[in-house]
């Protein structure tokens, strides 16, 4: 099932077979791995279900076996950036979220290097890492909660209830939520649009009709913005007919085309008697 956006990099992929990126997602125990591939310097990468930069960071903190309450920012930043580069080399789309986190880490790293303000009270000096740490801890709590939900759903899937008791099959009933209402409304609108398009397809304007239409419009107004004329076309075919009819009237010297400035609007005018 593919319900994550492509940017989520949710699909596991391996260095050998990036083409399999669309395979199904297994939730439990899917951890990414980086292992040396034989004798070469190449790293073999198995990407896990990284649902974003926080996920990746948590994983790297585990892998590097560092304390989440005292993250060595410089080291983790380096590993994180290395990971992003590897993902790019694998042609995996690195989502913007990952890059934003990279920027935040680099900024954090530089702040950690700054000497502390000696004038500041000891209590007021906040660890610059505190916010990141809190976000990581919060995120990890919800990851654990997600695992709990997953195991509950697994048990529930082994339980069955009785089959639907048949109701009136001619008028199948649906139970309705708020978003059903919106979805249905959108469907109606989409259906409506399709019908309009279908009708236009059927309506065919002949070359002769189009020439008449153009001639009348130019005559009645004295001049006609051709862009406006073309925009009236309801289909590709009608546009072609409109274009041909302009050429035809120019050829017959019934109209002349005027463009007052480069890239300006092109106006069709009744050909002046002098030119006629």
């Amino acid at each position: 099932m593919e319900d994550t956006a492509p940017t989520d990099m949710a699909a596991p992929a391996t260095a050998e077979a990036p083409a399999e990126a669309a395979q199904t997602i297994s939730v439990a125990n899917s951890q990414p791995e980086i292992t040396p591939d034989g004798d070469s310097d190449q790293l073999k990468i198995t990407l896990g279900d990284f649902e974003g930069p926080l996920d990746l960071l948590l994983y790297l903190i585990r892998q590097e076996q560092v304390n989440i309450y005292d993250i060595p920012i410089a080291r983790i930043t380096d590993v994180y950036l290395r990971y992003l580069i590897l993902m790019q080399e694998l042609d995996l789309t690195v989502a913007g979220d990952f890059l934003v986190m990279a920027a935040q880490l680099i900024e954090l790293k530089s702040r950690m290097l700054l000497p502390r303000d000696p004038l500041a009270e000891e209590e007021e000096v906040l660890d610059p890492r505190a916010e990141l740490m809190n976000r990581l801890l919060e995120h990890e709590k919800f990851k654990a909660a997600a695992q709990m939900l997953w195991s509950r759903a697994t048990v529930e899937q082994a339980v069955f209830t009785r089959a639907e008791i048949e109701t009136d099959t001619n008028n199948p009933e649906v139970s309705v939520g708020l978003f059903d209402l919106l979805r249905v409304f959108e469907e109606i609108l989409a259906r409506h649009k399709e019908e309009i398009l279908l009708e236009i397809e059927r309506e065919e304007v002949s070359m002769a009709e189009m020439i008449d239409r153009l001639r009348n419009m130019v005559r009645s107004a004295g001049e006609l913005n051709l862009m406006k004329f073309f925009e009236r076309a309801k289909s590709r075919r009608e546009l072609v007919v409109a274009f041909l009819s302009v050429l035809e009237l120019v050829r017959m010297s019934e109209i002349s085309l005027v463009q007052s400035e480069t890239f300006g609007d092109i106006m069709a005018r009744t050909a002046s008697p002098m030119e006629a």
């Binding site: 009785r162 089959a163 309705v176």
Partner: protein, 210 residues
């Protein structure tokens, strides 16, 4: 959770296994199933089936002798009758089915009637959607938008008090205009109409893909 645990290490009681081996005989590629388990499985299967289930079908699915299933079902029927409960296991149309007992039909009918139905047919739902988003709106306008006739859907919605008349439109024929009711807000858990999700709300959600 314990339920999961039960499901995974569902080993039969050794005594029961011995028993079933003696009276059923082992079937190829199938672990022993005790007669108690057979009964439970047959009951569960009859329960989930959407039509009367024959002993043969059950036997085929769990790959045991049909006779074993027939014995299990006869036992089950006796159990149901002995319990004197609200359900019966009965043979109908060459199959087995769990059903309520006839003596409770009055109460069951009363329940089925009492069910609040937030359920609408698709036609009613579509009509309601048009009215909710385009109100106040007349029946001809609804027909135009939906592209299908919907006068009966309007009546259904009026009956369910989900919509109300909102005066007449000052055009030819002065058609009645409809809008959603207070009941509509209650049933859909809305404080007011501004809480209706908009198409933008939906697009924001779908727009995750860059």
């Amino acid at each position: 959770m314990s339920k999961a645990a039960k499901a995974t290490n569902a080993e039969a009681n050794p005594d029961e296994q011995a028993q079933s081996a003696s009276d059923g005989g082992e079937i190829e590629g199938q672990r022993d199933i005790s007669s108690a388990e057979l009964k439970a499985i047959a009951e569960a299967m009859i329960f989930v089936a959407d039509e009367p289930l024959s002993a043969k079908t059950i036997a085929d699915v769990i790959k045991v002798d049909r006779e074993a299933i027939e014995v299990a079902i006869v036992d089950l029927v006796a159990e149901y009758d002995a319990r004197n409960c609200g359900l019966q296991l009965r043979e109908i149309a060459a199959g087995w089915q769990i059903a309520t007992r006839p003596e409770h039909h009055e109460q069951i009918r009363a329940y089925l009637k009492s069910r609040p139905s937030a359920k609408l047919s698709l036609a009613s739902l579509e009509t309601l959607a048009v009215i909710a988003y385009k109100q106040p709106v007349t029946v001809p306008e609804i027909l135009e938008i939906r592209g299908v006739q919907s006068p009966s859907a309007v009546k259904t919605l009026l009956d369910k008090r989900l919509i109300v008349a909102k005066g007449r439109k000052e055009t030819v024929g002065r058609p009645m205009m409809y809008g959603t009711s207070k009941e509509f807000l209650i049933q859909f858990g809305l404080k007011d109409l501004t809480e209706l999700p908009s198409i933008e709300d939906f697009q924001d959600l779908a727009g995750g893909e860059s």
